[in-house]
Symmetry: C2
């Protein structure tokens, strides 16, 4: 495989790059606004800096040998809600330019596009392939638009596309970001590091979660999966687990103790609550599991997986 990853400097992009380098000898082009660091010693890797919505950047990155594209670059939910123009530019126009670059490179690459729970509305339950999108955020609208583009580019034979609708990824290492769901990692990560964390939604709020490990495994799986129909079955609702925020904190207490769990402070933020509670928390995972995509066991496993891969707590 000769692979391009957009948004390769982000958390998932870096994990994905490492997973691909561990298993394949092809070329790997890593693109992000700032040049993805840490891969200079690997001759298979070309790290590029560029704004995907600027003309020419993607045309230069999608060379004619690229057969697989992971399109992860995006302005996240909270930021797209705060800055409408930026979200439209990156999430819609950037995605369109990527598809155009693939079309004109002429190789019909497999394009794995990460979409989101945010394309759905609050009334959807047991999400399956027939569930109507109903975004209530600009981020969700932009992802839904990019899905439609990808499907039609695939139907026309310009690309060989797959949409993966990702649950909220938890537990992410590192620092908070501008995603409305940032707290879904923060309320576990920060207390484990001895730091107080604010939970901006009520304890009974349900989330739909997937671990970073399973997310990366599913991205890699999507690159190789056989999908016979050009215009059907190209949108896959990934597996995940339904959990309330209260259950998340209870798992933290079971695993790390009451003192750690007490570092979660409950302080509602109406903007974040409005966004997060507009996302459905229960999907029908049967089709994705049948196609070989992975799920996590339960939220305790997500916390233990984070602890196994994260630096020890500083407190």
């Amino acid at each position: 495989m000769n692979v391009l990853i957009t948004g390769a400097g982000g958390f998932l992009g870096r994990l994905l790059a490492e997973a691909l380098l561990a298993r394949d000898g092809g070329r790997l082009v890593l693109l992000d606004r700032e040049k993805p660091a840490g891969f200079d010693d690997d001759p298979r890797v070309e790290a590029l800096a560029g704004d995907i919505a600027s003309p020419g950047v993607l045309a230069a990155a999608v060379t004619s040998d690229i057969d697989t594209v992971f399109h992860l670059a995006a302005v996240v939910s909270g930021e797209a809600e705060a800055n409408f123009d930026l979200g439209m530019r990156v999430n819609v126009e950037g995605s369109r330019l990527l598809l155009e670059a693939c079309r004109h490179a002429g190789r019909r690459p497999r394009v794995v596009f990460t979409s989101s729970v945010a394309v759905f509305g609050p009334n959807a339950e047991n999400i399956d392939a027939s569930t109507a999108v109903d975004p209530r955020t600009s981020y969700g609208m932009e992802k839904a638009v990019a899905e439609l583009l990808l499907k039609d580019y695939t139907r026309r034979g310009f690309v060989d596309g797959v949409v993966l609708r990702l649950p909220t990824i938890s537990v992410r290492p590192g620092r908070p970001n501008k995603a409305a769901s940032s707290f879904a990692s923060g309320i576990i990560r920060e207390p484990l590091a001895g730091v107080e964390a604010v939970c901006p939604v009520p304890p009974e709020t349900r989330l739909w979660l997937l671990s970073p490990r399973a997310a990366v495994a599913n991205l890699v799986h999507a690159a190789g999966i056989d999908l016979p129909h050009a215009d059907q079955g190209r949108v896959i609702n990934l597996p995940g687990i339904t959990v309330t925020v209260a259950e998340m904190v209870a798992a933290l207490e079971r695993i790390a103790g009451a003192e750690v769990a007490a570092r979660v402070r409950w302080e509602r933020d109406k903007n974040i609550e409005a966004i997060v509670t507009s996302w459905p928390a229960q999907w029908d995972t049967r089709e994705a599991l049948r196609l070989g995509f992975e799920n996590d066991e339960n939220f305790d496993a997500l916390v233990r997986g984070y602890l196994a891969g994260s630096p020890p707590a500083k407190a």
Copy 2:
């Protein structure tokens, strides 16, 4: 009302302009690629020529006094399938630029956007508000994208939008166009004028139709209707009637005689058939009727309505 109509030189645009001038004393801006003709004597009308996808054209047309916009301009289905770049430019980028112009004019105008049966896939039956879009043509994809944009611009308070999903309009006067559904008027209009018409789909093909009269009445109705929720109920599946092509020709024979109906020649066109049979032919009309939108009685009424408004047959 001070009104802008895009695509005002088209068949529906002209009918709508005439209907608005008959009932209202406000200003009426008519925009199309070529300057809409025939309105020079009316001081209320400003006719403009311009490409809606060219920067600046819509900003000049959406002046700060415009409170109502009818966005009819579009590249039709057959042409959007044949010329992907043109369809994307007009149907997606043109719609986006219109919404941007409305946003920056600052008046939050009511925007009535004409979408289409083509946003749905062939498996959809009894279409209602919860039916997932599943376009199988580039035209349908582009309309679905513009719907998502309009809904989010409305949610954010940039515009006060309403999407009307129109059935195929029949019987259109005038000449055939590049819509895949052009025959749905042609097989009635041409035989009545003494001319042979080709029907490119099998007799059992079902269509979902609405008369020009009801379409214009519904457009005008949509401009004034009260819609309380910014992010819900903004997409309306208009009423229509389900009819097979065989039933259409039978109606023609009932009304105009066997000799006229015999002018329909059956000659399948696989490209047209693939597009038209991807559209569902049965919708749940209860919600639209509850909101005060109109339907036609049956296909005989559509033919009689055409005859009442059309020049006499030349044969």
